[in-house]
């Protein structure tokens, strides 16, 4: 009996020790640089988190395959992902855990502006540089030193996108006189619509004929689309970030035969699952303003992404986290350190005009101002054509020519 007890204890000890032995094998020549990716991996925004992860993983594989960070003796980059879940509280506690458990050199996340607002507070307190694609103006309005926002902010997107849109409409001899604003009340959408509603449209002499905002989920889209049908606006500014809501609206648009051109605000409208849910015909000619999308001359990058992931095309979410990893790599090269504070200072001084990061984002240059906003960031207008979204504006970066309301 006693023997059996000792035997059992030895087996237990071996079992406990085994994982340690496995992980302790080669001690790395250089200290790894760890990047935290805090994005929704469960809940209703999990798909976006998954896409962001794909982009980050691709960039990390490339950096490591090309010899890692050279000024750090070929240090490899490793990704530490944390699930931001479906609420601000979960996102904040995920960031807190990820950043305190071990030394993290930089972070990326958390897609939804509301989440990013919370997560960047944690990063600021723990002094870890944080990169985000979220749009809301307030993210970089708080004077934080460690937050870097690579997208154009919502209000700037609204202004520049409207400018481009009015110009395109004029060129197509269909000037915009009446506009509709429909969408949910999530942070990025709210910040996009606010300047449109308060001044931008009026300044262009455009009348707002429908202005309807809802709290997701939308029970039924009939009433909204009915209003579009009866007022026939020349453009519909559209912000339904919740996929089921958006599908309902688009189905009703077809059912009611609404012909007004749709201008989406955000990259949620250009994901592959739209094609499967409503078919390419319904999407054709719908446009979206996004912060990043594959541009002219990026075919090679897109091809690599598609081969690696099996996704039908590349969009803002993977593209941005791809660029962010490369930005962190370049900053670490210059800082010659994995220390988050040193990397933050290097990012603040960064001015990249070539390389994978600069090539990924328009206008081909990476610099951040004192607020952490990327200087020169411009919105990209993307249009669905034949079941795939293409960059159509600005014209010099476009991969396809814009079609003004074809076939719908």
């Amino acid at each position: 009996m006693k023997k059996a007890g000792i035997g059992l204890a030895m087996v237990m000890a071996a079992l406990i020790a085994a994982p340690m032995l496995l992980t302790a094998v080669p001690s790395p020549a250089a200290e790894d640089l760890k990047i935290a990716l805090v994005v929704p991996l469960s809940g209703r925004w999990a798909r976006q988190g998954q896409l962001k992860k794909m982009g980050a993983e691709m960039a990390i594989a490339e950096v490591n395959a090309q010899g890692g960070i050279k000024s750090l003796g070929g240090a490899k980059i490793v990704l530490r992902e944390a699930d931001a879940g479906d609420s601000v509280e979960k996102a904040v506690s995920a960031a807190q855990r990820a950043l305190t458990r071990e030394k993290i050199s930089a972070g990326i996340g958390s897609w939804l502006s509301s989440f990013t607002l919370g997560v960047t507070e944690v990063a600021e307190r723990l002094e870890v540089p944080w990169f985000t694609l979220s749009y809301a103006d307030s993210i970089t309005d708080r004077g934080f030193k460690y937050t870097f926002q690579s997208s154009p902010v919502s209000s700037a997107q609204a202004e520049q996108a409207l400018e481009q849109l009015v110009e395109i409409a004029k060129r197509n001899n269909q000037p915009i006189k009446k506009a509709a604003i429909i969408g949910d009340n999530t942070a990025a959408t709210v910040f996009f619509f606010k300047p449109l509603r308060e001044k931008l449209l009026k300044a262009k002499g455009i009348e707002i004929v429908v202005d309807e905002i809802w709290t997701p989920p939308l029970a039924d889209a009939t009433a909204i689309v009915q209003k579009l049908r009866s007022t026939q606006p020349d453009v519909v500014f559209y912000g339904a970030t919740n996929f089921p809501d958006s599908i309902q609206v688009l189905q009703k648009v077809k059912e009611f035969g609404v012909k007004s051109p749709i201008q989406g605000v955000g990259a949620w409208l250009v994901t592959p699952e739209y094609v499967k849910a409503v078919g390419p015909e319904l999407l054709d000619s719908i446009k979206a303003v996004v912060a990043a999308h594959p541009l002219k001359g990026q075919d090679e990058l897109v091809k690599r992404f598609k081969e690696r992931t099996g996704e039908p095309f590349m969009t803002q979410d993977p593209l941005m986290s791809y660029a962010h990893v490369w930005i962190i790599k370049e900053a670490a090269e210059r800082a010659k350190s994995t220390d988050p504070k040193a990397i933050r200072d290097a990012v603040a001084k960064l001015d990249l005009t070539s390389g994978p990061a600069a090539n990924a984002l328009a206008p081909g240059r990476i610099r951040y101002d004192d607020h952490g906003r990327r200087i020169g960031a411009i919105p990209i207008i993307v249009q669905w054509q034949g079941g795939e979204p293409f960059t159509v504006a600005p014209t010099e970066l476009a991969t396809r020519k814009l079609v003004w309301q074809a076939g719908r």
Partner: protein, 297 residues
Amino acid sequence: MALGDLVQYVVTGLLVGGVYALMSIGLALIFGVMRVVNFAQGDFMMLGMYVTYFLTTAYGIDPLLGAVLIVPPFFLVGVAVHRVLLARVTGGGDPQRLMDTQLILTLGLSLIITNGATMLLTPMPRGIKTSYATQAFVVGPILMNEARSYAFLMALLLAGVVYVFLTRTDLGKALRAAADEPEAAGYQGIDVRAMHGLAFGVGIALVAAAGGLLATYHPIEPTVAVNFIVLMFVAVVLGGLGSIPGAFAGGLVIGVVQSLTLLVLPFQLQNVGVFIAFLLVLYLRPQGLFGQRLRTV
């Protein structure tokens, strides 16, 4: 507000409410017979949507037919879940403690199903592309979405079948006896435990069928249930806890109230209308629309 518009809003609300009604009667049946509040009900609906989706994409089966085909397998799933899990925490013992255990069990089941589905099926939303989702029947000035109209009719049919089963068959009567007076039913030779299994099976099958119908026009993702579970509970309480016709009416009322709310309140407050109506009913008729008033001696 023209009369035509008003009619349109009511019709739209009824069509939306039809599927809410079918979802809710499953929940009402389970509560009525077993006194179990099943938090995982919405997750079985989500599974119903996925199975219907796979039947459509893999075998080309129309989702309206798929929604009926999944009834028998989901009935068996329900019976099995009852046998393996719920039977351990129902029937006998301290009611308060049982209630706690049941809540934790069904809530835990819900979390496991949602997160399991996220892991296995990925969070990517899917949708069944049907021609009828974007077409409408035109009746004068009124538009009736085809997918919702079919779903409404199927919901009515399935609810009718359940009603006939409960009121006209011996098994249905035994089920109701087990619900009303478990002890006396036991004396009459009715196997109350088996009746619980039957109720749970039927309840799960119904909500899965509702999921299948919903899938004809609503996208499918692992977390889709959160959009509906609260409405299901409201419908069940609105109709009178445990009453099947009550839950059906409750579902329809929610659909119509949601739709009519838009006439007077902004979109952001769409569900506020539902909860105002809910509070009004609870205030004026605490036992629910079809509930029986409990008299204390």
